[in-house]
Symmetry: C2
Subunit: 201 residues, 2 copies
């Protein structure tokens, strides 16, 4: 077992969800491939860290000081969607259903893990709401307890500004059978039910 | 979604068992880590391809022309274990139970996939048996049909030399309950059963 291969496997094992066995399989796979595969990955790693920074407005990953969405003239600048990570913003962008702006929080509140409002971009969000022409803040966080707490925190924080604060709807996923829904999902589906026919009054 | 991140995710996706979602998770994880994590991996990738070559005797990965095992004075040079990949050799080395030499075949015969004897180090194995002082060749290949075919092929190839050809025992794995053994394993366990007490004759 050569030192260089051990170092490569150790470096690969630092990737998320890569255990010792996977790291070894990857290292040995790369040794058997053409040199270009390793070199391309090495170059992409260095380039990404060199060129990618945070958008100074919405805090998503960007190669320019202000990202493409923030600097676009075709976006609805009165709506701001708060997401946890750049990945969430990109998922929404791929859906093509949202035309407003974004604000990347950088995480959700989790005091137990040392993640307080100071380690998120909460103050920058408040500043944007205070200075930009935003009419609605849509909280696009997930369904965890921490995300719910964060949503409440933001909603209280923004109460002093003339903005509507909303959050993503909860309920059954598209195509989801009731038998696969957990109790909380069913609770939410019931509590947030929509009238589809008012009936006779 | 920036170009540099897209390129990084695409390069990561070329690793074995890494799909699109995992590649994105890895890319975004690396962006959030200190630069040293990406740089260490990039350096390890380039270094491994630069420094690691095939041992010219046993064909395992090595940083020297002749690998550490082949050049060691403490190995039993009369025994040669034939394995499919360097990984298999390293697993046996870690067990510490084998003190002979190795020969890395580079795969197993699979004519359907274009893997014939010419694409493996079969001829080099024959040459070693003909020129080195080898008394036993242990075929340490797996249990697939291709591996069995390859074992038979090697055994026929070496029939003209005064060497014993053996293969790893087949049967129940250590700690394996019968209920989890498949039919082939049970067949092998029965066919290759060992007498533990001769009884009265």
């Amino acid at each position: 077992m050569t030192e260089a291969v051990i170092r490569l496997a150790a470096a690969l094992q630092k990737l998320p969800s890569v255990g010792e066995k996977s790291a070894w399989r990857m290292a040995l796979y790369l040794l058997e491939q053409d040199e270009s595969v390793s070199h391309e990955l090495a170059h992409a790693l260095i380039e990404a860290k060199q060129r990618v920074c945070r958008c100074s407005r919405c805090f998503t990953w960007s190669e320019t000081d202000i990202c493409a969405v923030c600097s676009s003239e075709n976006r609805d600048r009165t709506t701001l969607c708060v997401v946890e990570r750049p990945r969430d913003m990109w998922i929404l962008e791929q859906s093509g259903r949202y035309r407003g702006l974004y604000h990347v929080l950088g995480g959700v509140l989790s005091p137990m893990n040392g993640i307080t409002a100071d380690s998120l971009t909460v103050e920058q969000l408040r500043h944007r709401v205070a200075t930009e022409s935003i009419a609605e803040v849509i909280i696009g966080l997930g369904g965890s307890n921490e995300a719910e707490t964060t949503a409440h925190y933001i909603s209280r924080l923004l109460a002093e500004y003339p903005v509507t604060v909303s959050r993503f709807a909860r309920g059954l996923s598209a195509g989801m059978d009731l038998e696969y829904a957990d109790r909380f999902t069913l609770d939410q589906a019931l509590n947030e039910r929509r009238v589809i026919n008012g009936g006779y009054r």
